[in-house]
Symmetry: C4
Subunit: 238 residues, 4 copies
């Protein structure tokens, strides 16, 4: 079943999200960001297999939740599209997902340290981050979430949280909008760097659960401010 | 009571301060800088709610010390304008204030480590930095200084110092001029990074109180040199 | 014996490799990258003695495996061309080599810590990195691999691995193609930074040998994606 | 006594040195670089009091070794010109001097840790760096080397070495040419960062004295390569 065309403004935002995540250092040549289809909850939009920093409108492909492309037209797709499909299936509240290898986050996943909110900007980490150990699901793998069952296991490790660490791989964050998911991916990285430095200084006084929840709520009202800045910093998008 | 128009050169300096703080990495999409009104000690100038890196002359709003905008004309204002109003009320010597989440400073606030002058450029930290724990004033909050009483408490934690750390949030620095406040915000961040690295190496021999005071005095005579550079590095300000 | 002219596309790739390694921070004014000659396994291509970030087509010189230039025409050559010649002699599978002082890798070489794969992108480090101690071969030297025998010893320390650390100097990585060697040089640096930060946090759960091998295999299929990005980020190459 | 005009090419190199040191992150708005006058060993060239990143030919002033400007024509001069004068007086082999607050070096000075050569590029640190404690000479000061006697004491702490750390202030490096002094200032900073990271990993195997001396000698033959790159990276110098 092919869904109707997605909202053109949503596609534009998804292109900008790809570019912003590259410019802000969350993704390099790898990583990807998706948006749930605005007119079909059973589909999502994701670039074809390419560097996010180069994505244009015409590179956006539509997938169903099993990770089957409905309009790839021969274009190569990401091996890990199952990250997106299975999280959208498990979490009706999620409308955008960022998977990245953002560098400050990775040391937490490989040491089993919890990522916790050092400051109000990362209140969305109030419930910590899930930890996905692919060895618990499969034998020695290539570390990629390259099948439906691995996607299901990742979604389970994410649970109701905003972020999940993937041991020896990277992390995935989710949001209710493209802007929120991008915000969370950027500030998960910022928070991880702050947390690394704070741990080196002494015992860290993290935001407690109620502080984190309240901070997250108020920060969401400020998203347009920072999204505008990120877009402006891109300069012209070719 | 509406004050007379502020000095046009002061408004220009405040716009530049916004841009400089972004370019130098002290603020990102968040944070703000204000100047006390030059013709009314009971008012201050602050941008409308927006990313500091994009501020223009027409974005500057005038507030009274209670944080009430006198010329917002419907424009959205910063939730934390009370930081500025209450510090101006408590500190007649202060004519400019920078609030930021500058990254190297935050680990100090969340571990209760004192920020101290590692080198002469940060002599203004000779008396250390105050530490504001919002939990001492209010129950679990969203961490923001979003009311008069919270602003009063922050001003009290600042005391007569140049800087105050805000646990789980960021920091605020003050100055006698826009240039001095910007200088202090930039070098508080530089000093924090130096201090983090020095602590990793061994016991740190900080500037003592008299060295710090003398260094701060002489550095103030060099402000035009570095302000000129920061302005030049901005390139054309659109 | 002078070999026939190398494939023009290979020379282009080697020029791009020089520029990419500079832009990505793997080399500064020093370091070099070579490619085995495509029509003569006994020769390789390497820039004349110059900063890699400035290399053009006309700067590429052809050498035999003894490090003798066949077409230098008076141009000054790198003192350490023996790194390349002796590794090509010892490793028929190697067709490109990067020697650099990439900064995060050096602390491993001087402390004798093993470089190990923190994440799937550095699966090529599954067998670790060799460690070359020049003092084992020669008396106190200038640290440079500036003779055939030193090159032979370096190739022996490399063994069948992808990378060798050179104590007090830098590192060398090898690949089956120019793209793969560049990829490995960049991600050896990324991995080293991740590993430094992870070690500071706690005990690190590295990829095991089978995970590393599988991840390396799948990553090799993604090389065109990231190479395209690196080329685009160069902008026009003068 | 007014010396004859300095070699125009030397003045050009000094202007480039100012710009390069800024672009490479060794100086910010502060710090300075000088060259001994090529036709009068009793004089040196140094910019007027300004940010090094903005220096032009017309900003270069001639001083005698007492720090008296012979052609300032009312222009404000650096408070710390005595660093330069007294080192030139004490060290006939020195023809260029860089004073900076380069960030990775400062943690060594304030903890009394020795700066030592981690890799061959910093062989010039083979004899370590001197440590200047201004408290040994004067009571609590503003930390600046702002008089002849303080300059004499600094030159004594430098001794016959290439670099001296200044506690709570910064560092000074010297060279036989402008190019060599710039090279040493840049690689003192690089080495300090490597050393900080290596110390975090374990016991560091530094270059020994003979290795350092040999590496320094061979690196000096490579200076034009890297100077060309630094100049090219400046782009047009306005």
């Amino acid at each position: 079943m092919t869904p109707p065309a997605a909202d053109s403004a949503l596609v534009d935002r998804l292109v900008l999200a790809n570019r912003i995540l590259y410019r802000q250092g969350v993704v390099d040549g790898f990583g990807h960001v998706s948006a749930r289809h605005d007119r079909s909850a059973g589909h999502f939009l994701l670039a074809r297999n390419m560097a996010p920093g180069l994505v244009r409108r015409e590179d956006i492909v539509t997938f169903d939740l099993d990770g089957v492309a409905v309009d790839a037209a021969g274009r190569r797709v990401y091996l890990e599209r199952f990250i997106h499909g299975e999280i959208y299936r498990a979490r009706a509240d999620v409308h955008a997902i960022v998977h990245s290898h953002s560098p400050s986050v990775i040391p937490f996943g490989v040491t089993g340290r919890s990522l916790r909110p050092v400051f109000h900007m990362s209140g969305f980490l109030g419930e910590g981050a899930g930890l996905f150990e692919i060895r618990d699901i499969a034998d020695d793998t290539d570390m990629l979430v390259s099948s439906g069952p691995l996607g299901v296991a990742l979604a389970r490790a994410l649970g109701a949280r905003s972020a999940v660490l993937m041991r020896g791989h990277g992390s995935t964050v989710v949001g209710a909008t493209v802007e929120q998911a991008v915000y969370r991916a950027i500030y998960a990285e910022v928070n991880a760097r702050l947390q690394l430095n704070a741990i080196a200084l002494g015992e860290v006084n993290y935001l407690n659960a109620r502080e984190a929840a309240k901070a997250a709520a108020v920060n969401d009202t400020q998203l347009p401010r920072v999204w505008d800045l990120w877009v402006r910093d891109l300069g012209p998008v070719d």
